[in-house]
Symmetry: C2
Subunit: 304 residues, 2 copies
């Protein structure tokens, strides 16, 4: 059985044919178009030669998985878009819709973990910080399908105001903007190659610039990742003490910092968390970054 | 089928006969004795007239439920005590052993919630702050049986050092000592009846004293519960955003403050948490406080 996995993000829309073993083929993408009809047309043209019998969609935003609707996506500027109906009408086959972090978590469970554990958590570190929880080999959705808002656990109860309504959410500190804020503060105090790598324009500093500097041995860059990693370690501790998972998989643009981020995060985790569960858990960075959304959305669709 | 539920705490050991419907009969208790042999002897004498065919034990501490061993209990000053073997030898029947917060959570699921939901969280607010997670109608244990350490989620990453190794755990702020600290600070600034109710000795202020004062309209007492409730609300938000449960049940001595604690906690939750899951969740105080441990331990034993 082959399913078309589609991962709709604010810049590009990735797609691929995925079989029931999770093998991903014909990976490609089209540009995102806010006009959902045009977006579907362009996907139809691009996938004309591919063979599949259903569609699984991952989408950034608050999704009603049962109805197949995007209730609200600030990223895509969509509100109440019924993707299940629109894709169903266009392709004439079964369609299922998932939140992108949920799909990525299931993708990581199959592609990275190969189902070799029962309980795992996936954290997507990007502009936002999202997540998905695997319990007993299944996505855990909670009472209204809202479970897994890992980035909105509280780091500083009186901290930076968050768009979700809470204050001091982890997303504000270790999401893309949070890390750039750490960098802007740190580069003031000591010489570093970061501004140079950003073309002399501090507004153009990105997590990628910081990692590039760290790779060349820049100490300030390493300290930025140390600070971000220590905050991530507090989040990992919350997850380990509460959910005691066998694996935590990190994915998303920020996780591409690799060991610069992972090492201080795990150090903080070992320092803070209960001994038995913190010795048990393995924290890894996904090796299938780009494919997790399409694979997870397709595989969850097959499961249904 | 009737099972003897036994709830071992540092002061008293409660016991009762529990049937498979969760009906609790012959509820009674003996004094705790650190000498486990003597404790079992006294339980044997006291239960001589009761009919039961198995024993389910709830115990404060780190429990290896599979082996039936208390790995470590700072409260009881026990280390590696194999209760399963000792009770089994004495009573000649099957014995199972659970952490007390885990047992209480399952007890609350049956007695308070009557299994009318799938996903729930129980928070035990006492000297320590513990918890248990119900997922799909079962206790969720995690990879090493350590899941549910709700009191050790982080409230202030650089806050009060905790015995668990972490800093700033919620337990330090809304456990018994945390609440007494809030009271000691608040009573300095304004007139209040709390010191009088504590016999003029500020070292004897307890959560019960504060509640007694609040019931008589003492404003400082109410403000103490407002402050504690707001902190509890941050914890509730973490749980709702991450696990999206249908119910959260509060139990333990601190929860006897009732609405003085519950109202500000829910107010903070509504302010901070995601809208859909925070509208869905019902936060209640258990109506079966004392019985949750014995009932849950017995019912989990029947389930096995």
């Amino acid at each position: 059985m082959s399913i078309l996995g589609v991962d709709i993000g604010g810049t590009e829309v990735k797609f691929a044919v995925v079989d029931s073993n999770g093998v991903v083929g014909s990976f490609s993408s089209v540009k995102f178009d806010r006009n959902s009809k045009k977006l579907i047309d362009s996907l139809k043209t691009k996938t004309a030669g591919l063979k599949f019998s259903g569609i699984g969609i991952a989408v950034a935003g608050d999704v009603d998985a049962e109805k197949g609707t995007v209730r609200f996506s600030p990223n895509l500027k969509w509100k109440n878009v019924n993707l299940k109906k629109m894709f169903g009408d266009a392709f004439r086959m079964p369609v299922s819709v998932e939140n992108d972090a949920t799909a990525a978590a299931y993708g990581a469970y199959i592609l990275d973990l190969k189902k070799k554990c029962r309980n795992a958590v996936c954290i997507t570190l990007g502009t936002g910080v999202g997540g998905g929880i695997i319990i007993n080999g299944n996505i855990y959705r909670g009472a209204t399908g809202s479970a897994g808002e890992i980035g909105h656990l509280c780091y500083e109860p009186n901290g930076i105001k968050c768009s979700c309504g809470n204050s001091g959410c982890f997303e504000r500190y270790i999401g893309r903007d949070g890390i750039i804020s750490i960098a802007r503060r740190k580069i003031k105090s000591r010489p570093t190659m970061i501004p140079g790598l950003a073309g002399g324009n501090n507004d153009k500093i990105t997590p990628e610039t910081i990692t590039a500097a760290a790779r060349q041995g820049d100490r300030v860059a390493k300290e930025i990742w140390d600070e971000a990693g220590a905050i991530l370690g507090v989040l990992l501790t919350d997850i380990v003490d509460l959910l005691n998972p066998e694996y935590i998989v990190l994915t998303g643009g920020i996780s591409k910092a690799g060991d610069f981020l992972l090492k201080p995060a795990v150090r903080e985790l070992k320092k803070r968390a209960f001994e038995v569960p913190s010795q048990k858990v393995k924290v890894i960075i996904s090796k299938h970054q780009n494919q997790l959304g399409v694979a997870g959305a397709a595989l969850l669709s097959i499961k249904k």
